[in-house]
């Protein structure tokens, strides 16, 4: 085992102009897969994917929210996986927000409505609110898991008290219920 302490960097309070703001902890983020890469990983047997967009009417949305105990948005983009004309399943991407983290994930659901697998597309953790989150998110635009990455800071890992993945589990539950609603309405093959 080999380890060394990374020397403390310049304190944030010195860097911040006039030190007007409380020092924010630097953000931590990893981009794992693009949606295209995730759908291929979820349905390796698929030959094509059709992108379809559905909107839940207000009554259906309210009913889902009440049933799940979670907020449900109206617009959903679904990638339908096909092989030789047969539908093999659907991939859906969603975001969940935890105490300090925001996780983008894709769920692959088979044509039988059963969950196949969940892949994390991006994990981002920051101090504080959404505005700051948006600001530092932009630095990752255009970077995919396939881009050549420098060995060094790019592969940083974060250690800490275990994060719960409960909000991802809730997000997956929401996708299953939404797909079920579209299927019952005859919109989804």
């Amino acid at each position: 085992m080999r380890w060394r302490r990374i020397p403390a960097s310049v304190p944030w309070s010195i860097v911040a102009p006039a030190a007007l703001l409380p020092a924010p902890a630097p953000a931590f983020a990893v981009e794992y897969l693009t949606f295209d890469e995730a759908q291929a990983a979820l349905f390796p047997e698929a030959q094509s994917f059709d992108m379809v967009e559905f909107t839940l009417d207000e009554a259906a949305r309210q009913k889902l929210q009440a049933g799940l105990g979670l907020p449900v948005r109206a617009r959903w983009v679904i990638r339908v996986a096909r092989r030789g004309g047969q539908v093999v399943g659907a991939a859906v991407v969603d975001d969940v927000i935890g105490k300090f983290d925001r996780i983008t994930f894709a769920a692959g659901v088979g044509a039988d409505g059963a969950l196949r697998q969940v892949e994390i597309l991006a994990y981002r953790e920051s101090h504080g609110g959404e505005v700051r989150l948006q600001r530092w998110r932009s630095q990752f635009a255009g970077k995919t898991a396939a881009s050549p990455l420098r060995v060094g800071d790019d592969i940083a890992n974060i250690s800490g008290a275990t994060l719960s993945c409960q909000h991802v589990t809730d997000g997956v539950r929401r996708i299953l219920a939404v797909l079920d609603t579209f299927r019952q309405a005859g919109k989804l093959p």
């Binding site: 380890w3 504080g128 990455l149 275990t162």
Partner: protein, 261 residues
Amino acid sequence: MSAPRTVRRARPALGTIVETGVHLTGDEDAEAAFGRAWCTVAEVERALSVFDPRSDVARFNAAPAGASFPVGAHAAAVLRFARDLERESDGLFDVTLGTGRGHWSLEFEGGRTYIRKHAGRVRIDLGGIGKGYAVDAAFDALVSGLGRAGGAACWVNAGGDIRVGDIEVPIWLRDEEGGGGGPWLSLSDGAIATSRYGPGARSHLAGARAGEVRHVSVAAPRCMWSDALTKVVALSRRTDHPLLRGHHAVAWLHPEGAACH
């Protein structure tokens, strides 16, 4: 030959987000290696889960006093280490979480490990050690999946419990109060685990005073050791506990309110 590149994947597992990463220098099949690692994580989860009634742990918890039955290889490895650490730490480390330390035992017969329950009230919870073990097992599967029995430039991170191979990985320490964090340690060929106990924390420490916060990291050659030793350090409040030296481990007690340094 492909250009050197790093590939990372993450999935929800073990009640957290588990990441596998590999730095590829040739045409190794990262997908196949990741597949082996994920299968191993699922296998360990099935064996050690308190919630799955078919797991070795759940079967023990449901068994009456006097029962004895064989356990699988994963449960046997974790229970053996837990038993030894319980004894060596004079009970600071206790997988029964106070329900009956010393009222369970292991027996070995015909190449199999049997667990025996000596009191009906004893419950085992491998939450303080199982995740570290799962990281080690997934790491081994990843290394062998890459065809590098001697070691490989790869890592596994289960929500902060990390095992790293032949690559220097910068480790950030999460600011548990405010989120985010900063570069803290650079680790290779070893493991690190961090635990935080206190009001509002996910983990609870039997024996700590109410309201007190203890935030501990332990680096060790294996993640199961790091994970388990965080409990010993948190309870003893000793970063020089003799068991650390015995496991080639180093410990840090983080001051509260200091995010990284």
